[in-house]
Amino acid sequence: MTKVVIVDGEGLLRARVVSNTGAEHRRLANRVMEEALQQAGLPFDQVSYVVATGYGRINVPFADRQITELTCHAKGVASLFPAVRTALDIGGQDAKGLKIKNGVLEDFVMNDKCAAGTGRFIEVLAGTLGLKVDELAAVAAKSTQKLRITTTCTVFAQIEIVSRLSEGVPLEDVVAGVYDAIARRTVNMLKQLGVEPDVVFTGGVARNAGMVKAVRDNLCYDVFVPEDPLITGAMGAALLGKELVLKARAKGQPILRKERRLEEATFFSS
């Protein structure tokens, strides 16, 4: 997913665009930026600063600065939940745990090596069960005894759930087991940092009610989920950009901006 957030000088949201990322990162970055500018009703030259984040951060030709998703997430989460100390972000490709103090990233852990414990795990197993991802939560809600999935690997977990289904384990218990497997894995990862409240759960996977429940059950802490958990990283990037600009202005320093790439100009005029 590629997301664009534009904030104004007060930090208020002026545009929010979310789009599927294809293979052509650069072209997409330009297209979603254009859409966001339209939403905000702004020409590009009125945008004071652009921060790119996430895996694609180096593929945003018009960005002034790249900041990692870890720092941006911390900022975004803290802007919504000032008391946050621990944040969990589960996206389609990776899962990260953040330790935040006074609104700033203090430490982090990441699972970026393996699909198990990410949104991908849910997608693959939903496919195996013949369900859509957004149908899972309702199914899991009926579970009375969640299945304990013993393998970590996505591929082996697929084999395991198929064989447990054929043994007669009810579908809802299998689905609840899938949630529990990811929650256990990510919560264990989070424990490396030492979990302290408030805990906030973000990322695409946090939109899934079944997953939120599983994380709560495994953490033994209440878990806050932002209204729009998909854009906390982009939000944080925009807020960091705003801070950089305001800080430079307050000090009377020039705002160091990257030279715009020709490629971007062509896209914007087409």
Binding site: Y55, Q66, I67, T68, E69, L70, T71, D94, L105, E106, D107, F108, M110, D112, K113
Partner: protein, 397 residues
Amino acid sequence: MTGNIRVAGEQKQGLARAGQIYHDRDIRMRQLKAEGRKVLGYLDIYPVLEMLTALDLVPFGILGDIKEPISRADACLPTIVCPFLRSALDLGLKGRYDFLDGLVAAHTCEVGEKWAHIWRIYIDLPYIHYIDTPHTTHQSAREHLAVLLSDFQGTLESFTGAKLTPERLRRAIRMHNEQRALVRGLYDLRKPDPPLIAGTEVVQVLVALISLPVEEGNELLRQVIDEVKQRHDGPKKKPARLLLWGSVVDSTDLIAMIEDLEANVVMDDTFVGSRAYFSDVKLTDDPLEGLAEHYLVDIRNPRTFRETALDEANRKDYWADLESRHGYLKDYAREWNVNGVILQTLRYCDIQGYEVPGLKDYLEHIGLPCTYLEWNYSQAALSPLRTRVQAFLEVIG
């Protein structure tokens, strides 16, 4: 023959020469072979190179290649072992090291031991010797290593037909000590801010060193040190000055990724880095004793177990123990003005991995921020690591 490292038609010197050998590691070896010298490959830092040099044998450090996909080695080594060793064996099986007359290996780690025996099975060489280097620093272990080295002396003498006299060995020890001192001199050039030499350049020089006879390596080091002191286009000043600790780093790729960000790698505690060079071999009456002491006690490496250090009241104390194990890193951090540490281990490298929890505690205790990367010895593994390193740099500011 000494000191002549010029190749007809290519008069490269200093850093350019180091870069050339880094990219083409066997060039000098093949020339020396053509001149009738014998080349022995060795793995890691425990084979006692002084003994080879003393008998006019050329030591050549066997490395892996992170750019070469591992294929042949998977038939002889499980895939769940150190990827560096798998890669090194793979290159051996593919003929990359076909100029070797022999192999010297030592017990660095469990898989390193198996690796040596598997190499012996699959790659037949006229001379193979394995040194079963002990794993503790006890007196009995030191004495045992001296005995093992005299066995090693025996097989070397019968392979070369020459006698390894104490005089020859002392001369070789002096040459290798000179190399150690020169490498420390090279590392001194990393102390200023910005460092005068980039971390990637240091790796190129150190890889070149283990691809050259010791006297030629010393000459190369002198050239590099002179060149670096005189040039004006060294690395730029960056906010982070990092120490890199851990498993083997035998290519520039990992450091290039780090130095591409807002950081200079100014110190390391790794192989092919500082570990082999930061203490000298003492010239004892029986030179083998000094060598045993050096390789077992002086070299700081998690592969050698040190007895738990006690506090002043003779009680076990976690922090006193950590201080005795890792205190030298605090000295490095101070002398090289380091403000962050990257702990890195290769996947399945238990030897270094076991050290990480205590080392993290220690660094935190002394107020030095660190981050831990476990990686796969492949270029593809580097891009997710980039995010972690960049985030770490953002955290330390």
